[in-house]
């Protein structure tokens, strides 16, 4: 399993925030402006998709060549979800780290946008990571044992040696293998 999961490239990664209390359509001009200015580092931005009419959907999606960034509510909670779209050349932990840096960049930029001022505050102490590849990373105990060290490595790679707790997300076995990461929390204890 460890070997198989090394080929894992497709990652989803979510940062949570309290509901911003503004309509999803407010994000449309912001994303269009970012595309015009190619405003995100290391990403080729080119489209905005609108699924706001579907409940608990990706909402408004900023599409880049490397990843899509959506206003996700699929687990009933608001957040920005990055879905890595293309295969890279690195290890799975590199893909997770890269995608995490991307989503942090998007979160910073959204929080800094004057049109959303004071309405968005992402929780950077919590990250949800999904292996978006059932063939390479099945949602099993063995799959999780292989995923967990990759996640820990990637998080430390981005956030440094902060304490963290990684737990497996309990979900429908047909759903994707997922890990919940809490930063600043001892591995076995409470915050």
């Amino acid at each position: 399993m460890g070997r198989a999961i090394k080929g894992l490239q497709r990652i989803c990664l979510k940062l949570y925030a309290p509901e911003p209390g503004i309509g999803d359509q407010a994000f449309v001009p912001i994303f269009h402006e970012w595309i015009r200015d190619q405003a995100l580092e290391d990403l080729v931005l080119f489209d905005v998709a609108d699924y706001a009419h579907v409940p608990e959907s990706p909402g408004i999606v900023l599409v880049t060549h490397e990843a899509s960034f959506s206003l996700d509510r699929s687990d009933g909670l608001f957040g920005i979800m990055a879905q890595r779209r293309v295969n890279g050349s690195g290890e799975a932990s590199d893909m997770i780290a890269t995608t995490l840096r991307h989503v942090l960049q998007v979160a910073d930029k959204l929080e800094g946008d004057h049109r959303l001022a004071g309405k968005l505050a992402f929780d950077r102490s919590r990250v949800m990571i999904e292996a978006n590849d059932r063939l390479r990373a099945p949602n099993t105990d063995e799959g999780y044992r292989a995923l967990e060290p990759l996640v820990s490595t990637a998080i430390r790679n981005v956030f440094g040696d902060s304490t963290l707790r990684v737990t497996r997300v309990t979900n429908d076995p047909r759903d994707r293998l997922a890990a919940d990461v809490r930063l600043g929390v001892a591995a076995t204890g409470a915050p």
């Binding site: 269009h32 595309i35 080119f46 489209d47 699924y51 579907v54 409940p55 990706p58 759903d175």
Partner: protein, 751 residues
């Protein structure tokens, strides 16, 4: 199937090494259902200017002008819409992993996934194939998904269940050698009854409508066979090829028609290559003679009967025992939902339940919840519908409340299925390369506004149907709704403004056998107000029980247009710039970094006068051709009027070159050919070729039509020629650096 997918994977690798020509690769991927998507030419207008998208492997293509790195759309065939829980589960996984977690149901019962990387497609195809789903021939010049009435087998009005026959047709023709050499796509539909609209047989290349006859005291099953229907820019209602064809002859007839089409159908001019043009050109009698001759010549094939027998035996939907025994308390909204989303099956103890999907979309998570619901209540009895919804069949009446509650938890209990709020829409400018206006943006807006008003609507108003397409290719099936719209654009001063052409008077009844005709172009932002006004007019003026279409026919399109005239105006940019941005978009609609022309909004060029006059003429022609009470002579006059409209549109363009150009038809035609056709000025990538051929054909006959069908077609063609002339005029304006050319012969707007 596995070997074919392996081969496709190799072809992708070879294309990356430039060892397969891009045109060849494009057709290869299309035949695997891997379609292009908007911006895949590597350019995108950002509201100010068109920018190049810096894809990493810029220049590596997967088809002409199609960047390899650009994501595409994957179309997945669901024959007659029938899907098992296992298949839906696989689709949900694929949508999540290769797309963006959204499954889109199309008006032809397919599933589409967007933003798919071409390099992911072989793995996806294998996973789908393992669940018995194919993407083969989902696009390209081939037999597309075979559609069928989603109520087949449970319908109150059908003669018999067409499902096994649709399945046999799909299996027999998939990859058949006789369907590999078409000039264009070929669409087939099955319907269980002639009067309803669910099967849409009359708008298909080939339609089978259930029929029976009694032979020696025994009832024999068969089909009324119709051919040459189609929507698209120039819609045709199918013609009857055979009034009754026994079921055992269904497959050989399909094969024979395919052979005639492959042999005689147009191959070079794509705009004239659908079978409807061949049928119109030959006439239905000659077409029948050719099909009969092919039937005579065909080598007998044991599969003709075997496929039908096998399909009948293998087609079954398990009926589960009731899942519940008590009367559970329903979650909110149950009564309203029951009124619109529950259908009483022919089998009295069962009902069918429509899951109303906004714009045909559901998430992977919803789809997975639905598979649990299917397994609990109906096993594999799910169909995609031609209204972009899902249908659960064989639901025990006693399970209805419990089923509702489970659907409620999955957020799948939107009521109003099949009513005015259930607006159909193609992808339009969201993802389609051909989209002109935002059909999904408009439809989402209409849905929201109509849902807010729905409590005011009585049953007759709720029955009004609305369908929206992003361009005139009709993927949203705008011709067959009471109120239809298709995307268009207009120049206003220095700016482009998104519009929708309004059509009234289409109908689903009789297998979608009545098409609406254009009333006029409405600015996109005024479409909701237009719908409101139409509904108010209808409410006020209808007679007892009068449905929308008869009201339109009684009051007349001219009178209705007169009452909408003020909504067709666009305020100047300086007064209200929201008109210059499409729905759910933030970019200014116009192209290029346009400066405001000094005379913008104050003068109208001679070209614009001519185009407006042409529109007026074609509208008059449409009034005549749409009136069933007028004489044949008057109908034929409408064709001449349509031709005159084309001449006026061409004249308008000629006036950009010379304001004193002569206006007699012969001179206009030859000057237009010399100045706009020989120079290619009239042509753009997707515009011009077919429209020019319409003008040519009309000119050759001097505008004379042989019959009502031809007259009607000419009116449609004239409308398209005028649209293409508008587009050409816009390009000329841009080439001059902005809005309407400030020409010395521009005249003051008399209004």
């Amino acid at each position: 199937m596995a070997a074919e997918i392996d081969e496709f994977e190799v072809q992708i690798k070879l294309r990356k090494q430039l060892k397969i020509d891009e045109k060849v690769f494009a057709e290869l991927r299309l035949r695997r259902g891997a379609y292009g998507q908007r911006y895949d030419n590597g350019h995108r207008y950002d509201g100010i200017r068109t920018q190049e998208i810096p894809f990493p492997r810029r220049g590596l293509t997967k088809g002409p002008d199609t960047e390899f790195d650009a994501p595409g759309m994957q179309r997945i065939k669901i024959p007659f819409g029938k899907m098992s829980a296992e298949q839906l589960e696989v689709l949900a996984d694929c949508a999540e992993e290769y797309s963006n977690g959204i499954l889109h149901i199309t008006t032809r019962q397919d599933v589409q996934l967007h933003f798919v990387d071409i390099e992911d497609t072989p793995d996806m195809h294998r996973r789908l194939g393992a669940a018995g789903i194919t993407t083969r021939e989902a696009c390209g010049n081939s037999v597309r998904n075979v559609t069928g009435c989603p109520l087949a087998g449970i319908c109150q009005t059908e003669l018999f269940d067409i499902s096994p026959y649709a399945r046999a047709e799909h299996l027999f023709l998939l990859g058949h050698p006789d369907v590999q050499d078409f000039g264009r796509k070929f669409k087939i539909a099955f319907s269980g009854c002639s009067g309803e609209g669910c099967g849409r047989a009359m708008m298909h290349d080939l339609g089978f409508i259930a029929a029976t006859r009694v032979v020696e005291g025994r009832e024999e099953r068969g089909f009324r066979v119709v051919v040459g229907g189609g929507l698209g820019p120039v819609p045709h209602v199918a013609k009857e090829l055979y009034d009754f064809m026994p079921e055992a002859r269904m497959l050989p007839v399909s094969q024979a028609i395919s052979r005639v089409y492959a042999r005689l159908g147009e191959k070079r001019n794509r705009a004239k290559a659908r079978v409807k043009f061949l049928v119109a050109k030959l006439g239905i009698d000659e077409f029948r003679r050719l099909v009969d001759a092919e039937l005579e010549a065909l080598e007998p094939d044991a599969r003709w009967q075997q496929w039908v027998d096998d399909a009948e035996q293998s087609h079954c939907e398990w009926r589960l025992a009731p899942a519940t025994s008590d009367g559970a308390r329903p979650d909110p909204g149950f009564e309203e939902w029951t009124e619109t989303n529950v259908y009483d099956q022919r089998q009295p103890e069962f009902v069918a339940v429509t899951i109303n999907l906004p714009l045909g979309d559901l998430t992977s998570r919803q789809a997975r919840s639905l598979t649990d619901i299917m397994r609990r209540y109906v096993s594999d009895a799910l169909r995609t519908t031609v209204d972009q919804n899902l249908l659960l069949r064989w639901v025990h009446r006693q399970d209805l409340v419990s089923l509702y509650n489970d659907l409620y938890d999955a957020k799948l209990t939107l009521s109003g299925a099949g009513t005015i709020t259930d607006v159909t829409s193609c992808p339009g400018t969201d993802t389609c390369k051909l989209g002109i206006s935002s059909s999904r943006g408009l439809s989402a807006e209409l849905r929201a506004r109509l849902e807010a008003r729905s409590l005011q609507f009585d049953a007759t108003l709720k029955d009004v149907t609305i369908k929206v397409s992003g361009c005139n290719n009709s993927c949203g099936q705008h011709h067959i709704s009471d109120i239809g719209f298709y995307g268009s654009s207009r120049n206003v001063g220095s700016y482009k403004v998104p519009h929708f052409l309004l059509l009234l008077g289409g109908a689903l009844e009789d297998n979608a056998g009545n098409y609406g005709l254009a009333i006029g172009a409405i600015p996109s932002k005024r479409v909701p107000e237009t719908v409101d006004r139409l509904l108010d007019l209808y409410s006020a003026e209808r007679e007892d029980g009068e449905a929308f279409r008869p009201w339109v026919m009684r009051v007349g399109k001219k009178a209705i247009k007169g009452k909408l005239q003020d909504l067709m105006a666009v305020p100047p940019y300086e007064q209200d710039d929201s008109f210059y941005v499409d729905w759910h978009d933030a970019r200014e609609y116009s192209i290029g970094d346009i400066g405001v022309g000094e005379c913008a909004g104050e003068v109208i060029t001679l070209t614009e006068f001519s185009l407006a006059s042409a529109e007026s003429k074609v509208f008059d022609a449409s009034l005549i051709v749409d009136d069933p009470t007028v004489t044949r002579e008057r109908v034929l006059e409408s064709s001449a009027l349509a031709y005159r409209a084309m001449v006026l549109a061409a004249l308008g363009l000629l006036k950009t070159k010379d304001p004193d150009t002569r206006s007699d038809p012969e001179t206009v035609f030859s000057d237009f050919e010399r100045q706009f056709i020989d120079t290619q000025l009239f042509f753009e990538r997707y515009i011009g070729n077919s429209e020019w051929s319409y003008f040519q054909a009309a000119h050759e006959t001097g505008g004379v039509a042989r019959d009502r069908d031809e007259a009607r077609r000419r009116v449609e063609e004239a409308q398209l020629f005028i649209e293409a002339s508008h587009a050409c005029y816009m390009r000329l304006c841009q080439a001059q650096g902005g809005g309407s050319p400030v020409l010395p012969w521009a005249v003051a707007n008399p209004t």
